[in-house]
Subunit: 314 residues, 2 copies
Amino acid sequence: MPEKIVIALGGNALQSKDSAPTAQARLEVVKRTCGYIAEVSQRGYEMAIVHGNGPQVGRIVLASETAKDTVPPMPFDVCGAMSQGYIGYHIQQALKYALSSRGRNYPVVTLVTQVAVDRNDPAFQTPTKPIGAFYSEAEARQLETEKQYTMGEDAGRGWRRVVASPLPRRIVEISAVRLLWDRAIVITCGGGGVPVAENPDGTLEGVAAVIDKDFAAELLAEEVGADVLLILTEVEKVAIRFGKPDQEDLGHLSLAQAAQYVKEGQFGVGSMLPKVEAAMKFVRANPDKRAIITSLDHCLDALDGKTGTVVTFA
Amino acid sequence: MPEKIVIALGGNALQSKDSAPTAQARLEVVKRTCGYIAEVSQRGYEMAIVHGNGPQVGRIVLASETAKDTVPPMPFDVCGAMSQGYIGYHIQQALKYALSSRGRNYPVVTLVTQVAVDRNDPAFQTPTKPIGAFYSEAEARQLETEKQYTMGEDAGRGWRRVVASPLPRRIVEISAVRLLWDRAIVITCGGGGVPVAENPDGTLEGVAAVIDKDFAAELLAEEVGADVLLILTEVEKVAIRFGKPDQEDLGHLSLAQAAQYVKEGQFGVGSMLPKVEAAMKFVRANPDKRAIITSLDHCLDALDGKTGTVVTFA
């Protein structure tokens, strides 16, 4: 039986380093990324891809807000769905080519995916994710009144809307992912999924929230019974005392060790912490499986056990 | 065996009649539309949905062009992919609810879909589809020089970019559509598909073009071996001498009759003609199958043979 992998692909694997990259520049980066993913598929792994969307949805929201006097602005959930179309299109175009140039004719498909969150998630009490344009304080106060936005001051650069980052509870289109799983590379839960909440009458409704894509990938990995949750980021290995002279890169992390390091505050809150937490959640739910945190260019070696940080139950 | 239907859903079934509808207003219209589609599914038909995207992609392009000094503008193919995410999300959310409120738990899924066109398609010689913002003649000339756009004067309202409307040649993600066909309602080829052309090295590349969604639906219907191509539009039946005192609504059209009426110029070039031509193409390729042109609220009766215009080979 081929091993089943869910790949969580960070924003860095999808964007160019330009300060204002065009869609074409991003596509070039996606093509390079897809070369690595095609190699993984070539080795016989079955896989799904969950990608981030931070820079892309940021630009969609910014364009929508900038043009608001000409075109009614898009709600944030719709911007998320649009980013799934945009990024999914680029990945499936580039990955299909990377596969076929390796002699592999295999379907690649993007599913527009809703992920349900709980309206009572405590995250809604303390929104933390800044999105979209910068405003003056006066404009910010007006948006708070007029649109019931939560606004926050962003590192001295101005005021921005902030939204919550609740946990993913349910992947609405999971049955379609399962149907396609062993016969296509499925791109799903893009940007963590389009965030929706369930109303009392059973309807789903888009909410303004950002679901962490590593947690969405973790939920997907549980739902499809993946063998490996592969979280790709900027570094080859997770480190403790990161950036200090005695930084230590970790080849392996047990659940207990990881919990200890989390308690010590070893991992950056907006960066490595959610990745380690997602990895911990996966092996806690699946004690015989593993999570791997590594960089794109080391992913093949990491799958072979040669590098990366492998997180296991014991 | 249940009958297999490909539904081509016109823009009017997806947009509110407001001059500048919000995404929320559009969603309300989509909900109503999905009630009818859920009834068709309820009757046991298997189906895929191909939707138009004219108003939505128009607004995405317009927002992108309006905000161009703040955010690099999106290429037109990316705008199309974004509209698939946007509209697909709304349809799958609304249709899933319409099904479940009828006691039917059935997957609904949107596939981001590329449709290949031929760079030698004669349509590229005479672009006809206006897209995006209006410009002055001077601005238009500048865009022609700087970006190699084709610009055209649009009915006295100003200058706009015009793009070609080539025929769809191949649905890139067709294998995924086939995998899902009998186990989900598949939303695919939205807006006629994201238009791509094949390069000599085998890569696909987005092109600025608008593929007619009725022709994309027709190609899909051929590819999946559909029994019915159901084209939904504003009117209950196709008419000849349309809008004249002696207008005649047609309950049935053979291929030969249809060809005669097309020759007489009975059908509007940007409106009914492509629908009739798509229907003709389908029954020419499948002489034992049928195409139906009718309105959303008559689609159930039309499937039962009680109304609509049924197009058959003989």
